[in-house]
């Protein structure tokens, strides 16, 4: 029954075929642009902050793919459901609202997977993305990416839950969206950030969404620190899941006491 919610979430995205199509073109365009920009930036340098041009371009491409897949504009239908009041039906389902919302979000995200996988495959084929260092790296990258998705889903869920307090939050959502893209390292790798900023960003859940899996991908020698990075992601998932429950409890209290 949970699978059904996920499937419906995916279907809700895929039914807008022109939107999916435009999404693919948008991503392709972005990949070409970041490629050109990073080439120009490196100019004659072979390495900046210890990162080679090839890695920087590869990172930028994967970053763009992660960004559109994990951090979509419409990340949850919950906000509009609160806004138009249809959320009352979520409260009288035999399944909890968090399950319903997360299922819908997961479905919508999974619907973006084919596009992401094609993007990665094309990147690897034209050698714009360097191949992963080995089996261990690949495995760690996949695990870390899935955890990154979980962190992204939970962060987005938390933000959509704020709709129970404020009905008009589209401005705040835009800021959140941009902040998430920047802080997660999807636009610019955290390697290039000033030390202080980079250090702060590593302590935010955003870096666990994109930067952690990507830095594992480009790490030439995986080791205990790889496991540690994945451990931090797991910790984020647990913490954010707990936080979501807490926020939802407060939201529910607010709804049942004071109406919609």
């Amino acid at each position: 029954m949970r699978v059904a919610v996920v499937m419906l979430g995916a279907k809700s995205v895929l039914i807008y075929r022109s939107d999916v199509f435009i999404g693919v073109i948008g991503l392709a365009l972005r990949v070409v642009l970041v490629y050109l920009v990073w080439r120009a930036l490196y100019d004659t340098e072979t390495s900046v902050s210890g990162v080679s041009l090839n890695d920087a371009v590869g990172y930028a491409i994967l970053g763009a793919i992660f960004n559109v897949t994990f951090q979509p504009w419409h990340f949850s239908s919950l906000m509009s459901r609160v806004y138009d009041g249809n959320v009352v039906f979520d409260l009288i389902r035999p399944v909890g609202l968090l399950t319903l919302s997360l299922g819908q979000q997961l479905g919508a995200t999974l619907a973006g997977f084919p596009r992401a996988l094609i993007g990665i495959a094309v990147g690897l084929t034209i050698q714009a993305v360097p191949p992963p260092a080995g089996v261990v790296t690949t495995l760690a990258f996949v695990v870390s990416s899935l955890l990154g998705m979980a962190v992204a889903l939970l962060c987005n869920l938390l933000v959509s839950l704020t709709a129970f307090w404020t009905t008009e939050i589209y401005g705040a959502i835009m800021v959140y969206h941009m902040a998430a893209a920047f802080c997660s390292g999807a636009l610019i790798p955290l390697w290039f950030m000033p030390d202080a900023l980079g250090a702060v960003l590593r302590y935010l859940p955003f870096s666990a969404q994109v930067f952690t899996p990507l830095s594992i991908y480009f790490d030439p020698s995986p080791g205990p620190h790889t496991l540690a990075a994945i451990g931090v992601q797991v910790a984020w998932v647990v913490l954010l899941a707990y936080l979501s429950r807490l926020v939802w409890k407060r939201a529910l209290r607010r709804v049942v006491i004071n109406g919609g």
């Binding site: 029954m1 059904a4 919610v5 419906l8 279907k11 809700s12 039914i15 807008y16 138009d84 009041g85 249809n86 009352v88 039906f89 409260l91 009288i92 389902r93 035999p94 399944v95 909890g96 709804v255 049942v256 006491i257 004071n258 109406g259």
Partner: protein, 327 residues
């Protein structure tokens, strides 16, 4: 099936300041205004009953329904539905109720209607064959065939409402809450929805609590009516008795040839006379408890040469209006 005792629901909202900088002051105020939307409603509904729950806008109808469905927690009072306290056992309660909120929808807007049904069947753990046969039945009864594969977003209001009704009843809940299920619908669509509701009640004994502004919904479906105003129940009982209490008279309109003799029909009062085109239209009234309608007609026709005669249906709308304005 439903037991509600002394239900009270208060809402508290930040106070709005008026006057200079009122808007800004409202942002910082800690004063709160408490409004009592439901004020001591007691209500018992037996299994298989269809009860009309009516009242003017803001009377507290929707708030009551939201408490009964478990969406809202009452400020005080006791509720038990199918042996459960709805807000405490929200998810268990959800399995035993269906709900239609006319102004809202439980259907997934982006997807074909059928997808919503599929998901609901799975959420409520319906067996496939059971789901299929029930959907086939409903599709036939409500004539969904032509639009079941259309995205909900593109449905007309009447079609969407039929979809919402099916969604609410698919998993066969014994209790159905209908909050304005016919709002904004045309006559044909209304009739179709009413027929479906009365079918559900007749076939499986579904208990129905119906709020509406269309008195015809209540007249067509409910024997019992509960009238609420200002958060309290002002009438609970038989629809017919309500009519009798507030409309002690029946009216007849009689068209007669001129000239007609001085009005002197025992037991029947003359209310109004209008003369036109060599005829007179006379409105008279009588107490139906003392004279039956056939008796009244025969008394009139015995004395006058009647061209035409119509019995005025006692207008429930008018009764309700009287109750609302009397307070």
């Amino acid at each position: 099936m439903i037991i509600a005792e002394n239900l009270v629901k208060e809402f508290s909202r930040p106070a709005r300041s008026t006057g200079p900088f009122g808007g800004i002051r409202s942002l910082f105020t800690t004063r709160r205004v408490v409004t009592r939307a439901v004020d001591g409603v007691s209500l018992t509904v037996e299994a298989g009953e269809m009860v009309g729950y009516i009242g003017p806008n803001g009377a507290g109808k929707s708030t009551t329904i939201k408490m009964l469905t478990g969406v809202l927690v009452p400020t005080s009072g006791r509720i038990e539905v199918n042996g459960l306290v709805p807000w405490r056992h929200r998810q268990a309660n959800a399995r035993t109720i269906g709900a239609v909120f006319g102004q809202r929808t439980q259907l997934w807007q982006d997807l074909p209607l059928r997808d919503s049904f599929e998901l609901i069947a799975k959420l409520y753990g319906m067996e496939r064959p059971h789901y299929r046969s029930r959907l086939a039945r409903f599709t036939e009864l409500l004539d969904l065939g032509s639009f079941i594969d259309t995205p909900v977003r593109s449905l007309s209001l009447g079609q969407r409402m039929r979809g919402d009704l099916v969604a609410a009843m698919l998993y066969e809940p014994p209790l159905l809450y209908l909050d304005e299920p016919t709002v904004g619908l045309d006559v044909v669509a209304k009739a179709r929805i009413r027929d479906f509701i009365s079918f559900l009640n007749a076939e499986t004994g579904t208990t129905v609590l119906l709020t509406t502004h269309d008195i015809a919904d209540v007249e067509r479906l409910c024997h019992r009516v509960v009238v609420i105003d200002g958060g309290s129940v002002v009438y609970d009982g038989d629809l017919e008795a309500l009519r009798q209490r507030h409309l002690p008279y029946r009216e007849l309109t009689v068209t007669v040839q001129l000239p007609f003799p001085e009005w002197d029909v025992p037991g029947i009062q003359l209310v109004d006379t209008a003369v036109h085109d060599g005829q007179a239209t006379i409105s008279v009234r009588y107490d139906p408890l003392r004279i039956s309608t056939p008796e009244a007609i025969s008394r009139i026709t015995a004395q006058l040469s009647v061209v035409d005669l119509t019995v005025q249906e006692p207008d429930l709308e008018q009764v309700i209006h009287q109750i609302y304005t009397a307070r």
